[in-house]
């Protein structure tokens, strides 16, 4: 009963936020709606006892990424409504329509295929039990860490390398060419 109530509220947050992102004309309002969605997802994580994921969701996505979105919007002063008639990239809209229909179909198919699967019962998988059979207070996090740093350590390290490459690439792209280099190219 409680779980259903939490699910309804969180799902309303997620959907409301998602619709808000699309509908709001103002980039800042869209970013705020995105935060609402992210919080809704965090609540759903908590309801599934994935506490660590919920915390990371809030810290990384709501706390860092959307803050950077807002920061860029404010710093560059693009906070005025976009003119929707101008289409800089012709194929974008038909492509977007196709992708959204495809993703919707994928989700519907996934739900349809998995309708007979067993749902995870409480204490099944996510709640880690100690030697005495009682759940460990933060066993979930410890199990996650053990998994991440032993079985999946290669994927983990590769992801961090990817992030470093992204950062270095951004710095290189954003760097203005030095005057000396320009002169060399000119002469």
């Amino acid at each position: 009963m409680m779980e259903l109530f939490v699910f309804i509220v969180a799902a309303a947050m997620v959907l409301g936020g998602a619709i808000g992102v699309i509908v709001s004309k103002h980039p800042v309002h869209a970013a705020l709606s995105l935060i609402l969605t992210l919080f809704g997802v965090a609540v759903l994580f908590v309801a599934q006892e994935a506490n660590f994921l919920a915390a990371v969701q809030v810290i990384v996505y709501a706390g860092a990424i959307v803050v950077l979105f807002l920061f860029v919007i404010m710093l560059l002063g693009v906070d005025n409504a976009e003119n929707l008639r101008i289409e800089p990239f012709k194929i974008q809209r038909p492509l977007a329509a196709f992708v959204s229909v495809a993703v919707f179909g994928l989700v519907v198919t996934a739900v349809f295929v998995a309708r007979n699967a067993n749902t995870a019962a409480k204490g099944n998988g996510l709640e880690v039990l100690g030697d005495d059979g009682a759940p460990i207070h933060d066993g979930n996090i410890k199990a996650l860490a053990r998994d991440l740093f032993s079985d999946h350590v290669l994927a983990f390290e590769l992801t961090s390398v990817l992030l470093v490459i992204a950062v270095v690439g951004t710095v290189l792209l954003a760097r203005k060419p030095r005057k000396a280099d320009l002169q060399e190219a000119g002469s």
């Binding site: 915390a55 810290i59 860092a64 404010m74 710093l75 207070h137």
Partner: protein, 405 residues
């Protein structure tokens, strides 16, 4: 669901457990508000003392009720909403600043019986409970999450005012808070590494004597980094560029008045108190008695309140330190602030975390501690040299090229 409190398992409406939880919520809320009121008075008094003034002394004994009077005055002021503001966001922003400040209280252990290695549970009306509102498994991660949410209040307040100075103030604030959050998180990670748990209660239980307080167990450096990063995160002097009066009129809250301004003010001071509470919890044993060698200061004559009194005494020290900072240190320049954050605090916190982790691994494998220490020092020294060399080269290039913008 989130395992917050053992009382919440099998909770029935209007049972004793239910009432205890309600009382705890109310106590945390009221203590937070009253504490903020006293903190404002304390800060004004101490600053006045340091500057050879008297400070507020008219309302109530020793001016204790001055904050209350100011608060009531603010409530009755006209509430202005600027013409060019974004009305919805303008109204929302004070709450976004205020709510996270309150929520941090919920995970800080405010007292309890920690004498002789007990885990802080006390018995109220025949029910064992901890003197903290919630003890979620993610514990200190919740603190990080809330401090990252607190950015939004300031950021959106400045932006939605539709005015230049608040916008500049909020852009400064968000850059500052995001930068120092990394150092804050990294120094917090050393505490988690040593305590071996994320739960705030577990962190307090791990510090059962002065030599095991994390300020000593992690080797002082993370504490210093945390203190500096927390001061920057709070936007308190010497890092109060957000509201540098000489440059920005009043910073992000210039356009706010009446109750909305009061909420920002309240959030700022409450954040100072909660951050002191967090520092005490993480590094100074929270409500743990002070046990050092033969000395054992448990304040046992206070009975069940001993833990709370010890916690408050420790928090008071840090509140005084924050006021002391404000009275003593001049404000940093913006580039100094960013250099300190990115080039000193983050590498230092990261390096120290690696050092502690290396010792931990060495302990598990039975390596010689001296060898581990020397290897670590060589590696970290090389990294530090590279970093300083890189920043020297870039500084030289900047000098030669002139300003980039």
């Amino acid at each position: 669901m989130l395992a917050l409190d053992s009382l919440l398992d099998n909770l029935k409406l209007w049972s004793t457990e239910f009432l205890i939880v309600i009382i705890k919520v109310l106590v945390v809320f009221v203590v937070g508000l009253v504490g903020t009121m006293l903190m404002v008075w304390f800060e004004r008094k101490v600053i006045a003392f340091m500057q050879n003034r008297i400070g507020p002394d008219k309302a109530g004994p020793k001016g204790l009720l001055q904050t209350l009077a100011d608060g009531i005055k603010l409530f009755f002021k006209e509430d202005l909403i600027p013409d060019r503001s974004d009305r919805f966001v303008f109204k929302l922003a004070p709450y976004l600043a205020f709510v996270p400040a309150f929520l941090v209280w919920s995970v800080i252990p405010l007292g309890g019986d920690f004498s002789n290695g007990k885990d802080g549970t006390v018995v109220i009306f025949g029910h064992a409970t901890k003197l903290q509102l919630a003890d979620p498994p993610i514990g200190v991660l919740l603190l990080l999450a809330l401090s990252s949410i607190a950015v939004y209040g300031i950021m959106l307040a400045g932006w939605s005012s539709g005015s230049k100075y608040p916008l500049l103030g909020s852009v400064r604030a968000s850059a500052q808070m995001v930068s120092y959050e990394a150092a804050l998180g990294l120094s917090l990670a050393t505490v988690i590494l040593v305590a071996g748990t994320l739960s705030t209660n577990g962190i307090v239980v791990a510090q059962n004597s002065v030599s095991r307080w994390h300020v000593i167990a992690t080797g002082v450096v993370p504490f210093v980094v945390f203190l500096i990063a927390a001061t920057a995160e709070l936007n308190r002097p010497p890092f109060d560029l957000v509201e540098a009066e000489q440059e920005l009129v009043g910073g992000f809250n210039t356009e706010y008045s009446s109750i909305r301004f009061a909420l920002f003010f309240l959030a700022e001071f409450m954040n100072t108190i909660t951050m002191s509470g967090v520092i005490v919890t993480l590094f100074f044993g929270g409500p743990q008695p002070i046990r050092f060698g033969g000395v054992n200061l448990t304040l046992s004559f206070l009975g069940p309140f001993a833990g709370t009194v010890l916690f408050l005494l420790k928090v008071m020290v840090f509140l005084y330190v924050y006021v002391w900072f404000r009275a003593t240190l001049p404000r940093l320049r913006y580039d100094q602030l960013m250099n300190l954050g990115w080039k000193l605090m983050i590498p230092l916190a990261l390096g120290w975390f690696m050092l502690l982790a290396a010792f931990r691994v060495g302990q598990d494998h039975g390596w010689n501690r001296a060898v581990v220490g020397i290897v670590c020092l060589v590696v970290l020294g090389a990294c530090a040299w590279l970093l300083s060399y890189a920043s020297k080269v870039s500084a030289r290039n900047r000098e030669r090229e002139g300003a980039m913008f």
